[in-house]
């Protein structure tokens, strides 16, 4: 499916000792929620930091909203204000109270809506004690005030690094609702890019998935298209050896096996007794990650 890119990147390279992020082209679709998926150390946070302008020491070119480059993102307040970023670091000073954290955001961001922030904090069940120190908050509550902060600004693009990780199941559900609500506000003009390990919890809000391994994009696409490209195959024990040649990430037990297969290679399984099912995004991602992971040996 064709789409307009809210972020377009070319030749994004960032080298560390023993690791290189190398993304020849990057396209994040406008009007959708995009999940950035990959194992620890795959380069997700590095990429998000580059896109958000947290990290400026990279090679390559970026284009936002179809017309602004990374220089505009840094120096044009309209562009900077249109992008909301939530990272995994502690960017509130440890001695600040909840009230001070709120005041600082009011000073920093012209488009920060304090009433909305208070309302969101209430919805997210953040303790309502102005004098409470931010450092005394639990990881979950810390994430909630960061999310409330980024959602209280009038933005067109959200870049969220692992927003679901510290949240409990109830709050993850709420996070999904909030993302959907955000996307709906200006039908088709708002976009969200988030990284996650909690693929199953976030699947119901994921439109487009970008899978990163060892600093490279190994697969990407709209979830509905990926589900047509990859299917789950289940079969009897006696067919396992024959099926292994075609399958990704086979898991086998005493009674049978299960793996992920490219739909276009299903014909190679003809003659075997198998059942084909629609894959979940989680199954697809795990299969692709295993295929490309250092842990399992790159093929």
């Amino acid at each position: 499916m064709e789409f307009t890119s809210v972020i377009h990147g070319e030749g994004i390279v960032k080298k560390y000792k023993g690791f290189e992020l190398n993304i020849p082209t990057l396209d994040v679709p406008q009007g959708f929620a995009t999940a950035l998926i990959g194992e620890n150390g795959a380069g997700k946070s590095t990429l998000l930091d580059i896109l958000a302008g947290i990290r400026l020491d990279y090679q390559g070119s970026l284009k936002f909203f179809g017309k602004y480059d990374d220089n505009d993102r840094e120096n044009n307040p309209d562009v900077k204000n249109a992008i909301g970023y939530e990272g995994t670091g502690n960017y509130y000073l440890p001695m600040w109270t909840l009230k001070q954290g709120r005041e600082v955001q009011k000073l920093l961001f012209k488009n920060f809506d304090e009433n909305k922030y208070i309302e969101l904090c209430r919805q997210l069940a953040v303790p309502e004690e102005d004098s409470k120190k931010i450092t005394d908050l639990s990881d979950g509550n810390h994430m909630k005030i960061k999310l409330a902060g980024v959602l209280s600004r009038e933005t067109d693009l959200l870049i969220l690094d692992e927003p679901a990780s510290p949240l409990d199941p109830l709050m993850r559900d709420k996070l999904c609702d909030m993302i959907r609500e955000y996307l709906q506000k200006d039908e088709g003009n708002k976009s969200v890019l988030f990284s996650t390990h909690n693929i199953a919890d976030m699947e119901s809000v994921t439109d487009y998935a970008i899978i990163v391994e060892n600093g490279n994009i190994v697969e990407q696409g709209f979830v509905e298209d990926l589900k047509e490209k990859y299917v789950v195959v289940k079969g009897e024990k006696e067919d396992e050896e024959a099926a292994r040649k075609v399958l990704y990430s086979v898991s086998s037990g005493n009674y049978g096996f299960e793996g992920v297969c490219l739909a276009e290679r299903l014909n190679e399984l003809a003659g075997l007794k198998t059942v084909v099912e629609t894959a979940t995004l989680s199954q697809i991602c795990v299969a692709i990650m295993k295929q490309n992971s250092k842990l399992y040996g790159v093929k």
């Binding site: 609702d177 039908e187 809000v205 439109d207 487009y208 979830v223």
Partner: protein, 124 residues
Amino acid sequence: MIISQTSGVPIYQQIADSFRADILEGKLKEGEYLPSIRGLARDLKISVITTMKAYEMLDQEGLVTAVQGKGYVVNSQDGNMLKEQHMRKVEEGLMQAIQSARIAGLSENELIETLKLLLTLKEN
């Protein structure tokens, strides 16, 4: 609209089926708009792309048309097309009956007799 996550029928298919039924039964009339893609996704707690795929399916079937910037509008359902859609449903149902009959080892005549019997029962 009831969406089942476990029925085995893809969610986009369930959404398309539901709107198709509403359009064919006249509950959604010519010129009316389907709910906005992102609004429906939000209400049903599903992704935008799933909703979009359902709407594109209805578009391909000629039931709705995408209008730039406004969403999907229900087309006029001319008699022939309605009949064709219903014919397709009849054929699907009959094909299922034929398959079941084969499994049960029914002869063609027996199958036709069963259908006739059912028709008289229904009429009474």
